[in-house]
């Protein structure tokens, strides 16, 4: 049994008792306990079930590498699955549940899988469940899915918050053990800005547990003195409970700080993601102990020797009363010594090495511990818990020489440096034959932007490990039979055994990546921290090659899993993305706006009056505007100033039209094409003065077009004297539209807005009422229209002034849908409706906008490609349903027959379709094969439900074809 020792425990505070529940049972532990140590103290060795066979699993490690003791912790909005009991610090009120079992941890129906384990070797699922075909989806897969998975899915939205910190430093030290603190001290002494990250809530790493003496002081004392000195230095930042999660290109490092996991609180973020740009990174990440592969090594009670030592020293918890130590190196002897000193029984140390230092043997013999040299565990006895071990010679096929009763086994297969952070960004490893480990190759570090190494490694992480002479023992005993190898676990969580890796090799999965994927070795939540090297060694042996020839799988960030919440940070809910508001946004909100997201903006789709449907509102807005007066908030349209001696030349390249010959005071509608000739944006350009133009873009296009301009100016035409500025948010813009527009504006007084003073497609600065305005005589509705721009700060006041002045005319604000319908009635194209990235101006009958006078413009060359000049390109037409109904959006026109691939032949499609209240019928625009030559022809548009709509090809201009209404 496991239990709490009467005294000791360097991390626990026996005066502070904490209450927690495990599977609903109330238990008590101490401040300073982890969930694992608190459970062990209550003799709860069984902590989980394995993934595939649902084998009983106890805790095996004491840190981040733990594969077995994973818990569902918390409730409601603070529930989180798959938390390592070994790194979950106990707090009062913690509610923990074990995972992956039904109905209970002790009795799990899924354990039946273990009975059939022989029929479920690595990759068995690739070889079966083939027939009957539909059974995979409906029978086999659901069963597999249900039995797989580990923790429960969270059900509620997260109750916690998260945040990001950005930091810069000269030297980032990852790991607050002795080596890390020394590195930090040295860097700080050089005057460097230093950040030190330690993943645990305590500093010093293993040294205090192992009783190390550092610079003449006991480790604990040295750590405390050194920390004090570092804390006093303004250039040094120390963060505990903060793990170095990933190293990325150019010295970019993620730190994952767990702020409240050990002490839940409402007023602070739960996790903080540190985004650090470091000049140099020192990893002092220590090393992880490897298990040994012997039959039954997965039974609860078999633990890493270092973990056993940790629990005894740190938490005063003994995993067992009688602990057998099994090892291939000197380090595990420390565990035996710690146990004996704590008054616990160690009946034997099973040492696989052919010979062991006599002094060591006699030292332990004096302590009452028998050292069995050249020996191995043939088999662990017990069903759900260790009851003893059978011993054999390591150099044998496993015939048992003796049996020792025990309730715990402490195993050590040697140590592997934690090389993850070194490797994330391309640091290479070298195999150290003497110490049987991969260590960082100092000649092949990850390199930065100048080609220099930017990561260095110190301490155990660098392979400076005190483990004596290690014997490379990868399975126990050496000549174990297949039955025995079938019981040796490599990956405890995923149930991958020595026999599985050997099967992979036998079936040709020779690459380490193939073997990993075929067996799932190292793909568990510990990402192979515990088992990978052992697996590689078994694979190398099966392939009769060396471990370095097999190599490792790729080390990927993060070092241990980090929360999605921390990755996302603050940006969620309302502030997931910035919401852009025009100055009139709040007015719209108050006046019934039915919102539509457009880019990061919200625009009113329409303004609903009480009791009115969306459709009714749109129709009312259109009719009112066409017959009297409407008001549109056009502030979201892009407004980009282009200025400089070469601005005219630049705009001539950017637009298909000529812009350099536009006169100051005039506006021109322009098109922009991509280099491939496709229409990408449109808008009205106004020439402000000799070297200044203002380019209007679509709402969605503003940022994109600004970036597009800068792309050309910075990358291609960098010697042109042109400057651009996106002024979209600096100005509010209002379209005053309708036959009463001028009359209404004139009631406000100010500038001359007559057709003579300000003709169609002209603009002028002036005053309307008390407002300083710039007025553009442009129209996207076909009506008399003034687009009036004022400084953003005056936008709302101006809007309200217009609404007031318009009251006698029955003014109505209108939204995007009315805008769309009115432009469609006029046959004006809309970017994103008539265009989709595959349409060129010629398809839309816009040839008039392609200047013939210019030498070149973006897209010009592309338009001469054979397919662009192909007469069979679909062309813009108007469409009227035969019965007056509205054509379905996105419908295609079909011709008889099918193409080579069996698809219906299509000859056109609907690009925009609306009900027009002005014409009281459905109108549509579309692209049709030879469309303009087929006026009057009726096309068939199948609906998705199989019925067919019929529409006649007509001119796309449904309303005021002569343009009399806008030019008055």
């Amino acid at each position: 049994m496991s239990f709490r020792l009467p005294s000791g425990g360097r991390l626990i505070d026996r005066t502070s008792e904490l209450k927690f529940t495990f599977n609903g049972r109330i238990m008590r532990g101490f401040a300073g306990d982890t969930l694992a140590s608190a459970l062990l103290a209550r003799d709860q060795m069984l902590m989980g079930r394995s993934f595939k066979y649902h084998r009983p699993r106890g805790v095996v490690a004491s840190g981040a590498e733990e594969p077995n003791a994973l818990m569902n912790i918390g409730e409601g909005g603070r529930f989180e699955p798959n938390q390592r009991a070994t790194t979950a610090e106990l707090f009062d009120g913690m509610a923990a549940r074990s995972q992956n079992h039904w109905p209970s941890l002790e009795f799990d129906v899924g354990a039946i899988n273990a009975k059939f384990a022989r029929f479920l070797p690595a990759g068995f699922y690739y070889k079966t469940f083939l027939y009957p075909r539909h059974f995979w989806k409906y029978v086999f897969e659901p069963i597999i899915r249900q039995s797989a998975g580990l923790g429960a899915a969270p059900k509620e939205a997260d109750a916690d918050t998260y945040e990001h910190f950005y930091a810069f430093c000269d030297v980032l030290v990852v790991g607050g053990g002795i080596a890390g603190l020394m590195a930090a001290r040295d860097a700080a002494a050089d005057g460097k800005r230093v950040i030190v990250l330690e993943q645990n809530g305590h500093w010093g790493g293993r040294a205090p547990v192992d009783g190390a003496v550092v610079e003449g002081k006991p480790a604990d004392e040295w750590v405390s003195v050194t920390l004090q000195a570092l804390e006093a230095n303004d250039n040094v930042t120390l963060r505990d409970r903060c793990m170095g999660a990933g190293v990325y290109d150019h010295g970019y490092v993620l730190g994952y700080e767990r702020i409240t996991d050990h002490a839940p609180a409402n007023d602070v973020p739960r996790h903080r993601l540190w985004r650090i740009r470091a000049g140099h990174v020192v990893t002092a990440t220590g090393a992880l102990e490897r298990p040994l592969s012997f039959a039954g090594n997965d039974l609860p009670g078999v633990m890493l020797a270092s973990a056993v030592r940790d629990y005894v020293v740190n938490h005063a918890v003994a995993p067992g009363k009688r602990t057998v130590v099994v090892t291939n190196n000197d380090d595990a002897y420390r565990t035996a010594e710690v146990m004996v000193n704590a008054g616990l029984s160690v009946p034997a140390i099973i040492d696989a090495r052919p010979s062991v230092d006599e002094a060591l043997i006699s030292k332990f013999s004096d302590l009452g511990v028998e050292v069995k040299v050249a020996s191995a565990i043939a088999k662990v006895k017990g069903k759900d818990r260790v009851t003893g071990v059978a011993i054999c010679a390591q150099d044998s096929n496993g015939s048992v020489s003796t049996t020792i009763e025990c309730d715990a086994v402490a195993m050590s297969g040697g140590w592997s440096p934690v090389v993850h952070l070194w490797s994330h960004c391309g640091g290479k490893l070298t195999w150290d034959e003497d110490q049987a480990m991969f260590r960082p190759d100092p000649n092949r570090p990850p390199t930065n932007q100048t080609g220099e190494g930017f990561v260095s490694v110190v301490g155990w992480a660098n392979g400076e490990i005190d483990q004596g002479d290690i014997a490379p023992v990868w399975i126990m005993p050496q000549g174990a039979s297949i039955e025995t190898r079938n019981k040796m676990w490599l990956d405890f969580q995923n149930d991958v055994k020595v026999s599985d890796v050997q099967l992979a090799a036998q079936e040709g999965f020779e690459s380490v990546e193939h073997a990993k994927r075929y067996t799932t070795l190292g793909m568990a939540t510990d990402q192979g921290k515990l088992s990978n090297i052992n697996g590689l060694a078994v694979l190398a042996d099966a392939l009769d090659t060396g471990i370095p020839q097999v190599g490792t799988t790729t080390f990927r960030p993060p070092y241990t899993p980090i929360s999605m919440g921390a990755i996302a940070g603050e940006a969620r809910g309302e502030i997931f993305q910035p919401l852009r508001r025009t100055p009139m946004h709040a007015w719209h909100e108050k006046n019934g706006a039915h919102w539509e997201p457009v880019g990061h903006w919200r625009r009113p789709y329409c303004f609903q009056q009480p009791g009115e449907s969306v459709e009714d509102a749109v129709n009312r807005e259109i009719t009112n505007t066409r017959t009297s007066l409407g008001l549109l908030d056009a502030s979201t349209l892009g407004k980009i100033v282009v200025k400089g001696p070469d601005a005219g030349k630049f705009l001539d390249m950017l637009y298909t039209n000529m812009m350099s010959n536009l006169k100051p005071g005039k506006c021109r509608y322009g098109l922009m094409c991509s280099e491939n000739g496709f229409l990408m944006d449109d808008g009205v350009v106004a020439r402000i003065d000799e070297d200044t133009w203002l380019c209007h873009t679509t709402t969605g296009g503003a940022d994109r077009i600004h970036a597009w301009m800068e792309d050309w100016l910075q990358c291609e035409w960098w010697d042109w004297k042109v400057w651009t500025l996106n002024l979209t948010e600096q100005f509010a813009q209002v379209a005053v539209v309708g036959p009463n527009a001028r009359t209404m504006l004139e009631t406000l007084g100010g500038m001359d807005l007559s057709a003579q003073a300000l003709p169609f497609m002209g603009w002028a600065d002036g005053k309307i009422g008390d407002f300083n305005v710039r007025v553009y005589r442009i129209s996207f509705s076909g009506e008399l229209s003034y687009e009036i721009s004022v400084p953003a700060s005056e936008g709302l006041a101006f809007w309200e002034a217009l609404m007031e002045a318009g009251e006698p005319f029955g003014i109505t604000p209108y939204g995007t849908e009315a805008l769309h319908v009115m432009r469609a009635e006029k046959g004006f194209i809309m970017i994103g409706d008539e265009t989709d990235g595959t349409v060129i101006p010629q398809d839309l009958g816009l040839n008039w906008a392609l200047s013939k006078k210019k030498e070149d413009f973006l897209g010009n060359r592309a338009h001469s490609r054979s397919h662009m000049a192909d007469p069979t390109r679909w062309k813009l037409v108007g469409l009227e349903t035969v019965d007056g109904s509205v054509l379905p959006d996105g419908a295609y026109a079909v011709a008889d027959g099918h193409n080579e691939n069996g698809q219906r032949n299509m000859i056109g499609r609907v690009t925009s379709t609306y009900y027009s209240p002005t014409l009281d019928r459905g109108i549509a625009m579309g692209l049709v094969l030879h469309g303009p030559d087929r006026m009057g022809e009726v096309l068939a548009f199948p609906r998705v439900d199989g019925t067919v709509a019929y529409a006649r090809i007509v001119s796309p201009v449904f309303y005021d074809p002569e343009g009399e209404k806008q030019n008055v």
Binding site: P121, R145, A153, A157, I482, I567, A568, N676, T838, N901
Partner: protein, 414 residues
Amino acid sequence: MKRYSAFAIAREAANYHQGWERAWAKRAPKKRYDAIIIGAGGHGLASAYYLGKNHGITNVAVLEKGWLGGGNTGRNTTIIRSNYLQDPSAAIYEKARSLYETLSQDLNYNVMFSPRGVIMLAQTHHEVRGYQRTAHANALQGVKTEWIGPERVKQLCPIMNIEGPRYPVLGGLWQARGGTARHDAVAWGYARACSDMGMDIIQQCEVTGVTSEGGKVTGVQTSLGDIGCNSLGIVVAGHSSHVAEMAGFRLPIESVALQALVSEPIKPCMDVVVMANTVHGYMSQSDKGEMVIGGGTDGYNNYTQRGSFHHIEETVRALIETFPMISRLKMLRQWGGIVDVTGDRSPILSKTPLEGCYINCGWGTGGFKAIPGSGFGFAELMAKGYSPLTAEFGMERFREGRFIDESVAAGVAH
């Protein structure tokens, strides 16, 4: 080849599975082959498989620089769908999807095709219109898709937040017979079937040059020596430009990193695949229980097979917005693959200026779902010089301006 079945497993269990033979043979390259495929990823292996199965060409070698299936085939998020907008795309992706339906039985290898259904969310009016258009096109292309409303979306995927606040779900394009498959198994299954037909799959064999005579391909130079062939298929994804250069032609391809990540495994909570293009992310749950997540490509060219953190951040943020519960899951690992992206984001399956040399590349971010259809069409192209499936995907289209642009329907990722 020993056939795989439950009975075979039971038989082998008696001997602790020591009787299983290699999934694919390990052979040294011969002096000459009728056809050589460079690249033993899914597309290369499928091309070889259909050369043998459909056209009787089995004197074939598939050469692989690393380990088979180790490129994008083994790095993607395994989504299979065919709800494409443009005719040529819908044809080849639907061919692929329909071949996936019976692939496990055809290959005698369980590739775990799971038609759990794919929803592409519409979160703006623009997307609503785009997907309604796709639904109309799909109906005429023989691709079964359906426009569904937000309530149905919620019903199909209860863990989704459809109410915003930032981007409420307005509906979605639903393809019930889309889904996922086990990516490695697709490569392994094809490799095993190819090997069984007598083809040679040669790993750790890097092509260093392409030889030709009088404008016609004669073979390749490799790290294992020169190998002759009558026809050559280049199927090397992110490294296409590099190998094309050896064959003497250039490609309109850019290589960029595309990343993916998985959470720790949890019990089943999501049966369907969801793609959310407005917020830029997609997610499904694997049979192992991991939430499999992908997003957009990095904004710069590279070959490192690792990406920036910034894209992971954006993707995770988008998916927490869509699936709030994943905030308390943990990212287990992130990785990257190098995708070969063309100007119109559609693939190239084409003859090349070098006679007898064909290229299959440019699948960009969406190649896995196409593997069987791509192999089917490319094998026909190599064997007969023409395939209706690949006819529109010739590389001359970039010169002619005849693009196959899916961006209107597919958004960032496909």
